[in-house]
Symmetry: D2
Subunit: 313 residues, 4 copies
């Protein structure tokens, strides 16, 4: 079913205007020094269809740090490598607690609840790393994202990576904690090196929307027609994004937006309207749960106006 480009264009432009006018913008993430310098006034949106056609508005061509959104791509890669054996190391349930991460790890003996919280994504990165040098593993992740986005210019922001590396004590704690339960195979600093670098990938809304298309279209990369994952796996990754993609705001995101989505502390969100479009929004200010404040609002308006919720007409 082809997108009504005209209608989408008009809704996207409207939303960008409305977002520009809002004064409630959330708080820019402070814990990574490089990220805290970003201008909170920015907002971008891009909608990509299966023809590679992109409808965009606002700061959709400005690259931002995608941060946790890469967890979707590393999960996809890791499932390709390990298949369902991945689930021996990582769960599939919402973390479901403001008391996040390390408490849960202690109660569940080192197994992270899902691949979209930090601990889970570190375990997934460790799996991708196994049998490789960190540089090779990182290259594989970057090339995979370039492939699904059909854009070889996507790069890692080394300043952000260095900033994360310097301030990543909490992630180190998570990694060593998992290692103490035998969940990690590689030296912690190797795994974290890869993790910090893939989180530091910079993309524009346009690039991110294009990169998400395989999840909207049954696992196929539409530009090349090549299969990234089979349709069942695409559905399952979407399901995980719906239940776990927004930390302890996942329930609220499902309730308001009604699409699978994954947010990053850089202020980006990738959302998937299965069979309809892949959508990227970006606005640096975050809400209390650490998700883009205006990004979530923009997506709520978009799904309402276009009737894209997966939960009914």
């Amino acid at each position: 079913m082809a997108l009504d480009h005209h209608r989408v264009q008009s809704v996207v432009a409207e939303i960008a205007d409305e977002m520009r006018a809002r004064t409630d913008r959330g708080e820019v993430a402070g814990y990574i020094p490089e990220l805290s310098k970003v201008d909170p006034g920015q907002f971008g949106i891009a909608v990509a269809d299966d023809q590679g056609f992109v409808i965009a508005a606002g700061d959709s061509e400005t690259a931002f740090s995608v941060q946790s959104i890469t967890k979707v791509f590393t999960l996809t890669l890791a499932l390709g490598i390990a298949g369902d054996t991945l689930w021996r190391r990582v769960g599939r349930e919402p973390s479901g607690s403001p008391f996040n991460s390390i408490v849960q790890l202690e109660f569940e003996r080192g197994i992270p609840r899902n691949p979209f919280i930090n601990a889970g994504a570190i375990a997934v990165t460790d799996l991708i790393l196994s049998g490789h040098q960190p540089r090779e593993a990182l290259g594989e992740i970057l090339r995979f994202i370039q492939f699904v986005a059909d854009d070889p210019t996507i790069r890692i922001d080394e300043a952000v990576a260095a900033s994360e590396q310097r301030t990543g004590e909490r992630n180190r704690a998570l990694a060593y904690y998992m290692k103490s339960f035998g969940i990690m195979e590689n030296p912690v600093e190797y795994t974290l090196g890869v993790y910090f670098h893939h989180c530091a990938i910079a993309m524009t809304c346009r690039q991110l929307a294009l990169a998400g298309r395989f999840l909207a279209y049954g696992g196929r990369q539409p530009s090349t027609g090549r299969t990234v994952v089979n349709p069942e796996r695409a559905r399952r990754i979407n399901a995980l994004m719906l239940t776990c993609g927004h930390y302890d705001g996942s329930g609220d995101f499902a309730y308001r937006v009604g699409l699978p989505g994954k947010s990053g502390v850089g202020g980006g969100i990738l959302a998937i309207a299965p069979g309809q479009a892949s959508i990227a929004v970006w606005s640096p200010g975050l809400d209390a749960a650490g998700n883009s404040h205006l990004g979530r609002i923009a997506l709520e308006l978009l799904t309402k106006r276009l009737g894209w919720s997966i939960f009914g007409a």
Copy 2:
């Protein structure tokens, strides 16, 4: 889009046959004496469309205790009474922890995480009760379920209600704990009386599938054409079922089945395929997370064979 009745009929019959043959059936709930007596060999399935047409197989005409599935209907009723002010008393996030209920209540000062865990449903029942006698409130809940199911013969199983009342100490603890934070308005025993009785409603798969149709069809009760909730509210209730409907197995249910659903410890599951059908399955044996073991497997097969997952083709 009309259901392909022939195709659905054949898939439903196949699945009932496959379920009958399986020897892994889970464990019947032991904590309510009345429920523990149920024969674990039973399995029923029913699929209802917007014409009120029901395709069924197995023990689809045997009444079972719907238990927590009534939480969907009490939530719907309470939203009708209180609108979004309901969310001052109850959250919308997955409980996300095997350490359920009362730990979470302490950390979050008496506010239950969502309306589909016991504490949340007790808070919702308390809201419905306010301003009424317990008998009236219970009557209202029962009539609402009879209305959406278009079936005035639906009844409460008094033996089950009495059994729950006698053994409901954990629920009493939850209720008094919330009361200590000012979340409950009515005398705890009144609220629990209503709660234990609505959990004890007995329905067949056919009745339950019919009762769920308003969630599959934009909030309308198809038999009468009357609006139960507006389309946005129907979508939002579906979203809550997806993220929170299966306790700490909600992520797994979304991953495998890909439909909003709500399970009960009686072994029933109501699942919604928006725009397609309302589905009820029942098999008394439960998995480790307290959800119907064969019920979940049957729904996974159904969505796979009919392509009904909300997460893509």
Copy 3:
């Protein structure tokens, strides 16, 4: 070894003067309406020796609500009834967490950590009640306290008991929660009725200091020479007071005061200097951990000036 009455008298008077002059007095407990009415300007102290001689100063003859201090006497009684089988229902470890009570009960399947937190004292009360009517059990507790204090005039403050009964939802939650694990034998309201009433016993510092003497003098009630408990049991109760007697301030109390002690939210503290004296202090204002602010300071000065710490000269 006889007390140097002159020296003790002078130290006690000094301390009462110093406490009278202080402006930091803590906060009077607000959660029981009757207690919140007490004048925070009061301070009393009494030191009793094995001859029944009492050295006192300040408001030592004003009766106050002893609250949790009765937990020492109910533990003593329950050990007399059940001996070491008591420890099947209650632990002996500090609760050691600001996340008190009900979280711990969930993690440890209904067994309270020690007899001096509310859950533990309710379990102890339930044991005393078994085989009796609530009125009889309460009478037994009151008579036991009158006996060890050698004072038949000690009474229950019915207004406080009624106030607790009306506002005791948190304690009801604890009790029903334990009942759900099979820890409680009697109807919850019966056990709580006894519990709320014994917490509402009113005593003066003089009475309380006299009542604690059996713990200071090897288990003997010195006035009558009768054995209350054997010397080993007296030591063990003292040990429990040291490790668990001040909720999550027990470590700090041991560190600063160096005596076994038990506090109540009425602002009283009973402290035991083994072989030296039984001491009661009272000042209604509480610190953040719920213990008498000036009471603790007074005891710290007393043990320092008299060299009574059990941890060395």
Copy 4:
């Protein structure tokens, strides 16, 4: 008051005989490979008085890994360096939970509950390290222990240190976690290097009993007459040992033994009878709480037979 050497000698010999005969010996710690090789059949005991006279029996001259017992000496050193400002980084309350360490750190924002759990001792080590090279800090700790034991032959077991360093992921997690809250000043690997090495100090019962004397005798090192700490600080360290010295078995140790004590997973316990003696016991098998099984039993018999409990005659 001088020790009755004859009586102590006879009790100590009796206890060593009784311990030798017991078949319940607990489990040798498995998590540090070097420790798991120790013969569980060993038992040693030594009692030191203020004259430096040592009464010993069993394997009292066999060196064992003192492990957490060094936490007493590092705390003493750190208090000498920082005084009460130490308590800004570390609490003084029992950890009081089988859900130890990292959960507590998350709830209390990186501040360990007390200096005798691993996290707390790492924070204390970090304080000692500040302004020094790791080698210097370690030298200072070792020399301090040699000084209080009056024995320059005490050494670090390098094989144990290396074993801990290789398997210390849990401690690394704790350290990085605290660092993420700003509790640690030095590079984590430096602090842990010092920590792993001081835990690997090997001592005999005789040496350990001698090293503890300053805590039994008002803070003075009796051989030299030099003040190690003032009497108040000695009392306070004893109080911390009583409330926190045996992990989640501290309450039980106080209840049964009635002396301040600190255990290590090597199977040693240092116990202090203020004014009477400093006592060391050693038996490698541990109980469920991680404390020496026969060591605790031996101390319980000793205090009962000699009347040394601090909680009364």
